[in-house]
Symmetry: C2
Subunit: 288 residues, 2 copies
Protein backbone atom coordinates (compact mmCIF):
# COMPACT_ATOMS: atom_id res chain seq x y z
CA UNK A 1 0.00 0.00 0.00
CA UNK A 2 1.48 3.26 -1.08
CA UNK A 3 0.75 6.62 0.50
CA UNK A 4 1.53 9.91 -1.13
CA UNK A 5 3.54 11.82 1.45
CA UNK A 6 4.94 14.72 -0.50
CA UNK A 7 2.10 17.02 -1.24
CA UNK A 8 -1.07 18.03 0.47
CA UNK A 9 -2.69 17.91 -2.93
CA UNK A 10 -1.82 14.26 -3.20
CA UNK A 11 -2.57 13.23 0.33
CA UNK A 12 -6.28 13.24 0.04
CA UNK A 13 -6.78 10.53 -2.50
CA UNK A 14 -9.04 7.75 -1.35
CA UNK A 15 -7.07 4.90 0.21
CA UNK A 16 -9.20 1.78 -0.12
CA UNK A 17 -7.50 -0.22 2.61
CA UNK A 18 -6.83 2.55 5.08
CA UNK A 19 -9.63 1.49 7.41
CA UNK A 20 -7.73 -1.69 8.11
CA UNK A 21 -4.99 0.27 9.87
CA UNK A 22 -7.27 2.49 11.91
CA UNK A 23 -6.19 0.52 14.95
CA UNK A 24 -2.55 1.13 14.15
CA UNK A 25 -0.76 3.49 16.47
CA UNK A 26 0.89 5.12 13.45
CA UNK A 27 -2.17 7.15 12.56
CA UNK A 28 -4.64 9.16 14.58
CA UNK A 29 -7.90 10.89 13.80
CA UNK A 30 -8.37 14.61 14.37
CA UNK A 31 -9.79 15.65 17.71
CA UNK A 32 -13.13 17.16 16.66
CA UNK A 33 -13.08 19.38 19.75
CA UNK A 34 -9.84 21.01 18.62
CA UNK A 35 -10.28 21.22 14.87
CA UNK A 36 -11.74 24.07 12.84
CA UNK A 37 -13.51 23.74 9.52
CA UNK A 38 -13.35 26.88 7.41
CA UNK A 39 -15.73 26.89 4.46
CA UNK A 40 -14.83 28.95 1.41
CA UNK A 41 -16.63 29.03 -1.90
CA UNK A 42 -13.59 27.21 -3.35
CA UNK A 43 -13.68 24.40 -0.78
CA UNK A 44 -12.95 23.44 2.81
CA UNK A 45 -9.92 24.21 4.93
CA UNK A 46 -9.28 22.08 8.02
CA UNK A 47 -7.19 23.56 10.84
CA UNK A 48 -5.97 21.49 13.77
CA UNK A 49 -5.53 23.62 16.89
CA UNK A 50 -2.63 23.37 19.35
CA UNK A 51 -3.90 23.95 22.90
CA UNK A 52 -0.67 22.32 24.13
CA UNK A 53 1.09 25.61 23.34
CA UNK A 54 -1.61 28.28 23.33
CA UNK A 55 -4.46 27.21 25.64
CA UNK A 56 -5.90 30.69 26.22
CA UNK A 57 -5.87 31.59 22.55
CA UNK A 58 -7.41 28.29 21.51
CA UNK A 59 -10.15 28.72 24.10
CA UNK A 60 -10.82 32.25 22.85
CA UNK A 61 -10.88 31.22 19.19
CA UNK A 62 -13.40 28.52 20.09
CA UNK A 63 -15.50 31.17 21.85
CA UNK A 64 -15.35 33.41 18.78
CA UNK A 65 -16.25 30.49 16.51
CA UNK A 66 -19.12 29.50 18.77
CA UNK A 67 -20.44 33.08 18.60
CA UNK A 68 -20.34 32.94 14.80
CA UNK A 69 -17.71 35.67 14.69
CA UNK A 70 -16.08 34.36 11.53
CA UNK A 71 -19.28 33.57 9.62
CA UNK A 72 -19.30 36.04 6.77
CA UNK A 73 -15.84 37.31 7.68
CA UNK A 74 -13.16 37.52 5.00
CA UNK A 75 -9.65 36.87 3.86
CA UNK A 76 -8.21 40.37 3.78
CA UNK A 77 -4.52 39.85 2.99
CA UNK A 78 -2.37 37.70 0.71
CA UNK A 79 1.30 38.63 0.72
CA UNK A 80 3.53 36.76 -1.67
CA UNK A 81 5.98 34.33 -0.05
CA UNK A 82 4.66 35.19 3.40
CA UNK A 83 1.12 34.91 4.78
CA UNK A 84 -2.62 34.92 4.09
CA UNK A 85 -4.66 36.63 6.82
CA UNK A 86 -8.36 36.67 7.68
CA UNK A 87 -10.77 38.22 10.12
CA UNK A 88 -12.99 41.27 10.31
CA UNK A 89 -13.47 42.66 6.79
CA UNK A 90 -14.55 46.11 7.96
CA UNK A 91 -12.08 48.91 7.54
CA UNK A 92 -14.51 51.06 9.55
CA UNK A 93 -14.13 50.27 13.25
CA UNK A 94 -17.65 51.48 13.99
CA UNK A 95 -18.86 48.47 12.01
CA UNK A 96 -16.57 46.05 13.80
CA UNK A 97 -17.98 42.58 14.30
CA UNK A 98 -19.27 41.55 17.70
CA UNK A 99 -16.84 39.39 19.60
CA UNK A 100 -19.48 38.19 22.05
CA UNK A 101 -18.02 36.95 25.32
CA UNK A 102 -14.55 36.36 23.93
CA UNK A 103 -11.63 38.10 25.61
CA UNK A 104 -10.53 41.20 23.70
CA UNK A 105 -6.88 40.99 24.74
CA UNK A 106 -4.71 37.98 25.41
CA UNK A 107 -1.01 38.13 26.01
CA UNK A 108 1.17 36.10 23.65
CA UNK A 109 1.53 32.38 24.47
CA UNK A 110 4.55 30.46 23.22
CA UNK A 111 5.98 27.91 25.59
CA UNK A 112 5.45 24.39 26.76
CA UNK A 113 7.72 22.09 28.73
CA UNK A 114 9.46 19.88 26.13
CA UNK A 115 9.12 16.82 28.36
CA UNK A 116 5.46 17.38 29.11
CA UNK A 117 4.55 17.78 25.43
CA UNK A 118 6.59 14.78 24.24
CA UNK A 119 8.97 16.74 21.99
CA UNK A 120 10.34 14.41 19.30
CA UNK A 121 13.76 15.73 18.40
CA UNK A 122 14.88 15.88 14.77
CA UNK A 123 18.55 15.49 13.87
CA UNK A 124 18.99 18.79 12.09
CA UNK A 125 21.15 21.88 12.24
CA UNK A 126 18.72 24.75 12.51
CA UNK A 127 19.37 28.40 11.67
CA UNK A 128 17.16 29.69 14.48
CA UNK A 129 16.92 27.22 17.36
CA UNK A 130 19.20 24.91 19.32
CA UNK A 131 16.86 21.97 18.79
CA UNK A 132 13.96 21.31 16.46
CA UNK A 133 11.42 18.52 16.20
CA UNK A 134 7.74 17.70 16.39
CA UNK A 135 5.02 17.73 19.01
CA UNK A 136 1.80 15.89 18.12
CA UNK A 137 2.26 16.69 14.41
CA UNK A 138 3.29 20.31 14.90
CA UNK A 139 6.78 21.52 13.95
CA UNK A 140 8.46 22.90 17.05
CA UNK A 141 11.74 24.19 18.42
CA UNK A 142 13.37 23.99 21.82
CA UNK A 143 16.28 25.24 23.90
CA UNK A 144 16.08 22.18 26.13
CA UNK A 145 14.06 24.00 28.78
CA UNK A 146 11.17 25.34 26.76
CA UNK A 147 9.55 24.22 23.52
CA UNK A 148 7.64 26.47 21.12
CA UNK A 149 5.90 26.09 17.77
CA UNK A 150 7.78 26.93 14.56
CA UNK A 151 6.56 29.03 11.62
CA UNK A 152 6.64 26.38 8.90
CA UNK A 153 4.43 26.42 5.80
CA UNK A 154 0.78 25.91 6.82
CA UNK A 155 1.15 27.02 10.43
CA UNK A 156 -1.63 29.28 11.71
CA UNK A 157 -0.99 32.26 13.99
CA UNK A 158 -2.72 35.12 15.75
CA UNK A 159 -2.41 38.55 14.15
CA UNK A 160 -1.41 41.25 16.57
CA UNK A 161 -0.34 44.88 16.69
CA UNK A 162 2.75 46.19 18.51
CA UNK A 163 1.42 45.47 22.02
CA UNK A 164 2.04 41.87 23.06
CA UNK A 165 -1.59 41.51 24.17
CA UNK A 166 -3.14 43.13 21.10
CA UNK A 167 -4.18 39.84 19.53
CA UNK A 168 -7.07 37.63 20.64
CA UNK A 169 -7.60 35.25 17.72
CA UNK A 170 -10.16 37.38 15.90
CA UNK A 171 -7.51 37.91 13.24
CA UNK A 172 -5.59 34.84 12.07
CA UNK A 173 -2.92 34.16 9.45
CA UNK A 174 -1.36 31.14 7.79
CA UNK A 175 2.18 30.84 6.46
CA UNK A 176 2.03 30.52 2.65
CA UNK A 177 5.70 31.04 1.79
CA UNK A 178 9.19 30.14 2.90
CA UNK A 179 9.15 29.64 6.68
CA UNK A 180 9.41 33.07 8.39
CA UNK A 181 11.05 31.58 11.45
CA UNK A 182 12.04 35.00 12.79
CA UNK A 183 8.37 35.21 13.84
CA UNK A 184 8.83 32.29 16.25
CA UNK A 185 8.36 33.47 19.85
CA UNK A 186 7.05 36.75 18.49
CA UNK A 187 3.55 35.80 17.38
CA UNK A 188 1.34 33.18 18.97
CA UNK A 189 0.92 30.10 16.81
CA UNK A 190 -2.32 28.24 17.41
CA UNK A 191 -2.48 25.44 14.88
CA UNK A 192 -1.82 24.03 11.43
CA UNK A 193 -3.78 23.64 8.21
CA UNK A 194 -4.08 19.89 7.61
CA UNK A 195 -6.31 20.03 4.53
CA UNK A 196 -7.07 22.69 1.91
CA UNK A 197 -3.83 24.62 2.20
CA UNK A 198 -3.68 25.07 -1.59
CA UNK A 199 -6.94 27.06 -1.49
CA UNK A 200 -5.20 29.70 0.62
CA UNK A 201 -1.69 29.62 -0.86
CA UNK A 202 -2.88 30.10 -4.44
CA UNK A 203 -4.97 33.21 -3.77
CA UNK A 204 -4.06 36.26 -5.85
CA UNK A 205 -1.70 38.52 -3.97
CA UNK A 206 -3.02 41.76 -2.51
CA UNK A 207 -1.57 44.89 -4.08
CA UNK A 208 -1.69 47.03 -0.95
CA UNK A 209 1.10 47.40 1.57
CA UNK A 210 2.02 44.04 3.16
CA UNK A 211 -0.26 42.30 0.67
CA UNK A 212 -3.53 43.63 2.09
CA UNK A 213 -6.33 43.79 -0.46
CA UNK A 214 -6.98 47.41 -1.29
CA UNK A 215 -10.74 47.16 -1.75
CA UNK A 216 -13.52 45.13 -0.17
CA UNK A 217 -14.37 43.70 -3.57
CA UNK A 218 -11.08 41.79 -3.52
CA UNK A 219 -11.86 40.14 -0.17
CA UNK A 220 -12.56 36.42 -0.22
CA UNK A 221 -15.60 35.66 1.85
CA UNK A 222 -15.42 33.04 4.57
CA UNK A 223 -18.83 31.39 4.60
CA UNK A 224 -18.27 30.13 8.09
CA UNK A 225 -15.82 28.63 10.52
CA UNK A 226 -17.14 25.88 12.76
CA UNK A 227 -15.64 23.62 15.33
CA UNK A 228 -15.49 20.27 13.57
CA UNK A 229 -17.74 18.63 16.16
CA UNK A 230 -20.49 21.16 15.37
CA UNK A 231 -20.15 20.79 11.62
CA UNK A 232 -22.38 18.67 9.41
CA UNK A 233 -19.16 17.57 7.72
CA UNK A 234 -17.74 16.15 10.96
CA UNK A 235 -18.07 12.53 9.86
CA UNK A 236 -16.43 13.11 6.51
CA UNK A 237 -13.60 15.28 7.70
CA UNK A 238 -12.85 13.20 10.74
CA UNK A 239 -11.91 10.36 8.40
CA UNK A 240 -8.78 12.45 7.75
CA UNK A 241 -5.89 10.88 9.63
CA UNK A 242 -2.57 12.36 10.69
CA UNK A 243 0.57 10.31 11.09
CA UNK A 244 1.63 10.28 14.73
CA UNK A 245 4.98 12.05 15.00
CA UNK A 246 5.79 9.79 17.96
CA UNK A 247 5.51 6.66 15.79
CA UNK A 248 8.15 4.45 14.20
CA UNK A 249 6.44 5.08 10.86
CA UNK A 250 7.17 8.78 11.25
CA UNK A 251 10.83 8.01 11.99
CA UNK A 252 10.86 6.04 8.73
CA UNK A 253 9.23 8.96 6.94
CA UNK A 254 11.93 11.34 8.25
CA UNK A 255 14.64 8.87 7.24
CA UNK A 256 13.23 8.60 3.74
CA UNK A 257 13.10 12.38 3.38
CA UNK A 258 16.67 12.62 4.70
CA UNK A 259 18.39 9.89 2.72
CA UNK A 260 16.56 10.31 -0.62
CA UNK A 261 17.60 6.94 -1.96
CA UNK A 262 15.48 7.25 -5.11
CA UNK A 263 17.51 6.79 -8.31
CA UNK A 264 16.67 10.33 -9.41
CA UNK A 265 18.92 11.85 -6.73
CA UNK A 266 22.54 12.24 -7.84
CA UNK A 267 23.86 13.46 -4.51
CA UNK A 268 21.38 12.83 -1.70
CA UNK A 269 22.05 15.41 0.96
CA UNK A 270 21.68 13.10 3.95
CA UNK A 271 20.33 16.09 5.84
CA UNK A 272 16.89 17.48 6.53
CA UNK A 273 15.50 20.79 7.70
CA UNK A 274 12.49 21.05 10.02
CA UNK A 275 10.05 22.64 7.59
CA UNK A 276 10.96 20.20 4.81
CA UNK A 277 9.87 17.13 6.78
CA UNK A 278 6.10 17.40 6.33
CA UNK A 279 3.66 15.40 8.41
CA UNK A 280 1.82 12.78 6.35
CA UNK A 281 -1.93 12.66 6.38
CA UNK A 282 -4.40 10.41 4.60
CA UNK A 283 -8.09 9.93 4.20
CA UNK A 284 -10.39 7.02 3.64
CA UNK A 285 -13.29 9.09 2.40
CA UNK A 286 -12.47 12.57 1.21
CA UNK A 287 -12.47 13.01 -2.52
CA UNK A 288 -11.94 16.55 -3.72
CA UNK B 1 14.20 57.59 1.20
CA UNK B 2 12.55 54.39 2.15
CA UNK B 3 12.71 51.19 0.13
CA UNK B 4 10.35 48.31 0.62
CA UNK B 5 12.57 45.26 1.04
CA UNK B 6 10.21 42.62 2.28
CA UNK B 7 8.07 41.68 -0.65
CA UNK B 8 8.50 41.45 -4.38
CA UNK B 9 5.02 42.92 -4.61
CA UNK B 10 6.20 46.00 -2.82
CA UNK B 11 9.56 46.36 -4.49
CA UNK B 12 8.28 47.65 -7.76
CA UNK B 13 6.70 50.84 -6.64
CA UNK B 14 8.03 53.90 -8.41
CA UNK B 15 10.88 55.48 -6.47
CA UNK B 16 11.00 59.15 -7.45
CA UNK B 17 14.60 59.80 -6.43
CA UNK B 18 16.11 56.47 -7.37
CA UNK B 19 17.79 57.86 -10.47
CA UNK B 20 20.01 59.95 -8.23
CA UNK B 21 21.72 56.82 -6.92
CA UNK B 22 22.17 55.09 -10.26
CA UNK B 23 25.86 55.81 -9.96
CA UNK B 24 25.96 54.24 -6.52
CA UNK B 25 27.78 50.94 -6.36
CA UNK B 26 24.98 49.60 -4.16
CA UNK B 27 22.69 48.95 -7.10
CA UNK B 28 23.18 47.44 -10.52
CA UNK B 29 21.02 47.14 -13.60
CA UNK B 30 20.19 43.76 -15.10
CA UNK B 31 22.50 42.49 -17.82
CA UNK B 32 20.16 42.46 -20.83
CA UNK B 33 22.23 39.68 -22.41
CA UNK B 34 21.54 37.40 -19.45
CA UNK B 35 17.97 38.23 -18.57
CA UNK B 36 14.80 36.58 -19.84
CA UNK B 37 11.44 38.25 -20.18
CA UNK B 38 8.53 35.81 -20.02
CA UNK B 39 5.22 37.29 -21.13
CA UNK B 40 2.02 35.82 -19.73
CA UNK B 41 -1.48 37.13 -20.20
CA UNK B 42 -1.38 38.11 -16.52
CA UNK B 43 1.84 40.11 -16.85
CA UNK B 44 5.61 39.91 -17.24
CA UNK B 45 8.09 37.71 -15.42
CA UNK B 46 11.76 38.73 -15.44
CA UNK B 47 14.38 36.03 -14.89
CA UNK B 48 18.04 36.82 -14.33
CA UNK B 49 20.28 34.00 -15.56
CA UNK B 50 23.37 32.69 -13.74
CA UNK B 51 26.05 31.75 -16.28
CA UNK B 52 28.58 31.87 -13.43
CA UNK B 53 27.25 28.48 -12.34
CA UNK B 54 25.62 26.93 -15.40
CA UNK B 55 27.30 28.30 -18.56
CA UNK B 56 26.29 25.46 -20.88
CA UNK B 57 22.68 25.49 -19.75
CA UNK B 58 22.42 29.26 -19.99
CA UNK B 59 23.88 29.16 -23.51
CA UNK B 60 21.41 26.47 -24.48
CA UNK B 61 18.42 28.27 -22.99
CA UNK B 62 19.43 31.37 -24.95
CA UNK B 63 19.60 29.22 -28.12
CA UNK B 64 16.11 27.84 -27.40
CA UNK B 65 14.79 31.34 -26.73
CA UNK B 66 16.38 32.66 -29.89
CA UNK B 67 14.70 29.85 -31.86
CA UNK B 68 11.33 30.84 -30.39
CA UNK B 69 11.04 27.50 -28.63
CA UNK B 70 9.05 28.92 -25.71
CA UNK B 71 6.73 31.15 -27.75
CA UNK B 72 3.32 29.56 -27.33
CA UNK B 73 4.67 27.05 -24.82
CA UNK B 74 2.88 26.59 -21.51
CA UNK B 75 3.01 26.29 -17.77
CA UNK B 76 2.17 22.64 -17.26
CA UNK B 77 2.62 22.08 -13.52
CA UNK B 78 1.87 23.87 -10.26
CA UNK B 79 2.55 21.80 -7.17
CA UNK B 80 1.61 23.33 -3.84
CA UNK B 81 4.52 24.37 -1.65
CA UNK B 82 7.01 23.22 -4.27
CA UNK B 83 7.40 24.32 -7.90
CA UNK B 84 5.76 25.71 -11.03
CA UNK B 85 7.10 24.17 -14.25
CA UNK B 86 6.88 25.17 -17.91
CA UNK B 87 7.94 23.96 -21.33
CA UNK B 88 6.50 21.87 -24.12
CA UNK B 89 2.73 21.59 -23.62
CA UNK B 90 2.36 18.50 -25.82
CA UNK B 91 1.71 15.23 -24.07
CA UNK B 92 2.15 13.59 -27.48
CA UNK B 93 5.86 13.32 -28.27
CA UNK B 94 5.20 13.22 -31.99
CA UNK B 95 4.08 16.83 -31.70
CA UNK B 96 7.14 17.86 -29.71
CA UNK B 97 8.34 21.37 -30.35
CA UNK B 98 11.40 21.96 -32.49
CA UNK B 99 14.49 22.66 -30.46
CA UNK B 100 16.40 24.08 -33.45
CA UNK B 101 20.15 23.97 -32.98
CA UNK B 102 20.01 23.68 -29.21
CA UNK B 103 21.76 20.73 -27.58
CA UNK B 104 19.30 17.97 -26.62
CA UNK B 105 21.29 16.72 -23.66
CA UNK B 106 23.48 18.60 -21.22
CA UNK B 107 24.96 17.10 -18.11
CA UNK B 108 24.08 18.79 -14.84
CA UNK B 109 26.15 21.87 -13.91
CA UNK B 110 26.46 22.92 -10.30
CA UNK B 111 29.83 24.22 -9.25
CA UNK B 112 31.91 27.35 -9.32
CA UNK B 113 35.06 28.23 -7.42
CA UNK B 114 33.90 30.28 -4.40
CA UNK B 115 36.85 32.68 -4.76
CA UNK B 116 36.35 33.19 -8.48
CA UNK B 117 32.66 33.98 -8.10
CA UNK B 118 33.10 36.33 -5.12
CA UNK B 119 31.08 34.29 -2.64
CA UNK B 120 29.78 36.60 0.12
CA UNK B 121 29.44 34.47 3.22
CA UNK B 122 26.42 34.82 5.49
CA UNK B 123 26.71 34.18 9.22
CA UNK B 124 24.13 31.43 9.48
CA UNK B 125 23.85 27.87 10.65
CA UNK B 126 22.48 25.98 7.67
CA UNK B 127 20.69 22.62 7.71
CA UNK B 128 22.20 21.51 4.40
CA UNK B 129 25.57 23.17 3.74
CA UNK B 130 28.72 24.09 5.65
CA UNK B 131 28.57 27.66 4.41
CA UNK B 132 25.90 29.78 2.77
CA UNK B 133 25.89 33.21 1.23
CA UNK B 134 25.36 35.14 -1.98
CA UNK B 135 26.99 35.40 -5.38
CA UNK B 136 25.91 38.36 -7.53
CA UNK B 137 22.43 38.34 -6.00
CA UNK B 138 21.94 34.57 -6.09
CA UNK B 139 21.62 32.54 -2.88
CA UNK B 140 24.43 29.99 -2.78
CA UNK B 141 26.14 27.40 -0.61
CA UNK B 142 29.72 26.25 -0.30
CA UNK B 143 31.97 23.66 1.28
CA UNK B 144 34.95 26.01 1.04
CA UNK B 145 36.19 24.37 -2.16
CA UNK B 146 33.15 24.57 -4.38
CA UNK B 147 30.15 26.89 -4.42
CA UNK B 148 26.72 26.04 -5.81
CA UNK B 149 23.35 27.75 -6.12
CA UNK B 150 20.66 27.12 -3.48
CA UNK B 151 16.99 26.29 -4.03
CA UNK B 152 15.43 29.33 -2.37
CA UNK B 153 12.02 30.74 -3.27
CA UNK B 154 12.12 32.18 -6.80
CA UNK B 155 15.13 30.19 -8.01
CA UNK B 156 14.77 28.74 -11.52
CA UNK B 157 16.03 25.28 -12.46
CA UNK B 158 16.20 22.81 -15.31
CA UNK B 159 13.71 19.95 -15.27
CA UNK B 160 15.29 16.58 -15.86
CA UNK B 161 14.47 12.87 -15.78
CA UNK B 162 16.53 10.24 -13.95
CA UNK B 163 19.57 10.52 -16.22
CA UNK B 164 21.87 13.37 -15.20
CA UNK B 165 22.03 14.63 -18.80
CA UNK B 166 18.29 14.38 -19.48
CA UNK B 167 17.67 18.11 -19.10
CA UNK B 168 18.65 20.81 -21.56
CA UNK B 169 16.65 23.85 -20.46
CA UNK B 170 13.60 23.17 -22.64
CA UNK B 171 11.73 22.44 -19.41
CA UNK B 172 12.20 24.88 -16.54
CA UNK B 173 10.77 25.24 -13.04
CA UNK B 174 10.69 27.87 -10.33
CA UNK B 175 10.55 27.29 -6.56
CA UNK B 176 7.16 28.52 -5.28
CA UNK B 177 7.21 27.04 -1.79
CA UNK B 178 9.45 26.45 1.20
CA UNK B 179 13.02 26.04 -0.07
CA UNK B 180 13.48 22.40 -1.25
CA UNK B 181 17.20 22.51 -0.49
CA UNK B 182 17.55 18.74 -0.89
CA UNK B 183 17.44 19.51 -4.62
CA UNK B 184 20.72 21.47 -4.38
CA UNK B 185 23.46 19.70 -6.36
CA UNK B 186 20.78 17.45 -7.84
CA UNK B 187 19.15 19.75 -10.38
CA UNK B 188 20.87 22.50 -12.34
CA UNK B 189 19.81 25.95 -11.22
CA UNK B 190 20.09 28.59 -13.93
CA UNK B 191 18.68 31.80 -12.51
CA UNK B 192 16.22 33.67 -10.37
CA UNK B 193 12.89 35.43 -10.89
CA UNK B 194 13.51 39.10 -10.07
CA UNK B 195 10.08 40.42 -11.03
CA UNK B 196 6.62 38.86 -11.43
CA UNK B 197 7.13 35.96 -9.03
CA UNK B 198 3.59 36.39 -7.67
CA UNK B 199 2.15 35.62 -11.11
CA UNK B 200 3.66 32.14 -10.91
CA UNK B 201 3.29 31.40 -7.20
CA UNK B 202 -0.42 32.20 -7.11
CA UNK B 203 -1.42 29.89 -9.97
CA UNK B 204 -4.04 27.30 -9.12
CA UNK B 205 -2.46 24.00 -8.18
CA UNK B 206 -2.56 21.12 -10.65
CA UNK B 207 -4.64 18.17 -9.54
CA UNK B 208 -2.54 15.51 -11.26
CA UNK B 209 0.36 13.65 -9.72
CA UNK B 210 3.15 16.05 -8.66
CA UNK B 211 0.87 18.99 -9.42
CA UNK B 212 0.83 18.51 -13.20
CA UNK B 213 -2.29 19.89 -14.86
CA UNK B 214 -4.40 16.98 -16.03
CA UNK B 215 -5.73 18.57 -19.19
CA UNK B 216 -4.37 20.97 -21.77
CA UNK B 217 -7.22 23.35 -21.02
CA UNK B 218 -5.66 24.01 -17.61
CA UNK B 219 -2.30 24.99 -19.10
CA UNK B 220 -1.30 28.64 -18.85
CA UNK B 221 -0.01 29.84 -22.17
CA UNK B 222 3.37 31.54 -22.34
CA UNK B 223 3.01 34.17 -25.05
CA UNK B 224 6.75 34.31 -25.50
CA UNK B 225 10.10 34.31 -23.77
CA UNK B 226 12.67 36.74 -25.13
CA UNK B 227 16.13 37.71 -24.14
CA UNK B 228 15.70 41.14 -22.59
CA UNK B 229 17.94 42.78 -25.16
CA UNK B 230 15.67 41.56 -27.95
CA UNK B 231 12.48 42.65 -26.22
CA UNK B 232 10.59 45.84 -26.96
CA UNK B 233 10.28 46.17 -23.17
CA UNK B 234 14.06 46.27 -22.71
CA UNK B 235 14.16 49.94 -21.75
CA UNK B 236 11.37 49.64 -19.22
CA UNK B 237 12.50 46.43 -17.61
CA UNK B 238 16.15 47.38 -17.52
CA UNK B 239 15.23 50.20 -15.16
CA UNK B 240 14.81 47.42 -12.61
CA UNK B 241 17.81 47.44 -10.29
CA UNK B 242 19.17 44.76 -8.01
CA UNK B 243 21.07 45.51 -4.83
CA UNK B 244 24.64 44.32 -5.15
CA UNK B 245 25.19 41.55 -2.64
CA UNK B 246 28.85 42.65 -2.42
CA UNK B 247 27.84 46.11 -1.18
CA UNK B 248 27.85 47.64 2.30
CA UNK B 249 24.17 48.41 1.79
CA UNK B 250 23.49 44.69 1.44
CA UNK B 251 25.41 44.02 4.67
CA UNK B 252 23.11 46.57 6.32
CA UNK B 253 20.10 44.85 4.80
CA UNK B 254 21.21 41.49 6.22
CA UNK B 255 21.86 43.07 9.61
CA UNK B 256 18.39 44.64 9.64
CA UNK B 257 16.80 41.29 8.75
CA UNK B 258 18.86 39.58 11.45
CA UNK B 259 18.44 41.98 14.36
CA UNK B 260 14.79 43.00 13.78
CA UNK B 261 14.97 46.06 15.99
CA UNK B 262 11.44 47.18 15.13
CA UNK B 263 9.25 47.70 18.22
CA UNK B 264 6.86 44.99 17.02
CA UNK B 265 9.39 42.23 17.74
CA UNK B 266 9.24 40.93 21.31
CA UNK B 267 12.20 38.59 21.04
CA UNK B 268 14.28 39.34 17.94
CA UNK B 269 16.01 36.14 16.98
CA UNK B 270 19.38 37.66 16.13
CA UNK B 271 19.75 34.93 13.53
CA UNK B 272 18.98 34.62 9.86
CA UNK B 273 18.57 31.78 7.40
CA UNK B 274 19.76 32.00 3.79
CA UNK B 275 16.39 31.92 2.07
CA UNK B 276 14.92 34.50 4.45
CA UNK B 277 17.42 37.20 3.51
CA UNK B 278 15.91 38.30 0.19
CA UNK B 279 17.80 40.45 -2.29
CA UNK B 280 16.29 43.94 -2.60
CA UNK B 281 15.37 45.28 -5.98
CA UNK B 282 13.82 48.58 -7.02
CA UNK B 283 12.60 50.32 -10.09
CA UNK B 284 12.44 53.88 -11.23
CA UNK B 285 9.87 53.29 -13.92
CA UNK B 286 7.86 50.10 -13.60
CA UNK B 287 4.34 50.58 -12.37
CA UNK B 288 2.23 47.45 -12.29
Amino acid sequence: MKFAYFSLTLLLVAMPFADASDQSTAWRRLNIDNTLLMQLESGDVVIELAPQFAPKHVRNIKALVSDGYFDGSAIIRSQDNYVVQWGDPNFDNSKARSQGNAAKEIDVEFFANPREVDFQRLESRDAYADEVGFVDGFPAASDGKQAWLAHCYGMVGVSRDVASNSGNGSGLYVVTGHAPRHLDKNVTLVGRVVKGMELLSSLSRGTGELGFFETKSEHIEIENIDLLKDSDLADTVSSLQIMRTQSDEFKQHVLKRTTRTEAWFLEPTGRIELCNVGVPSRSTKIKN
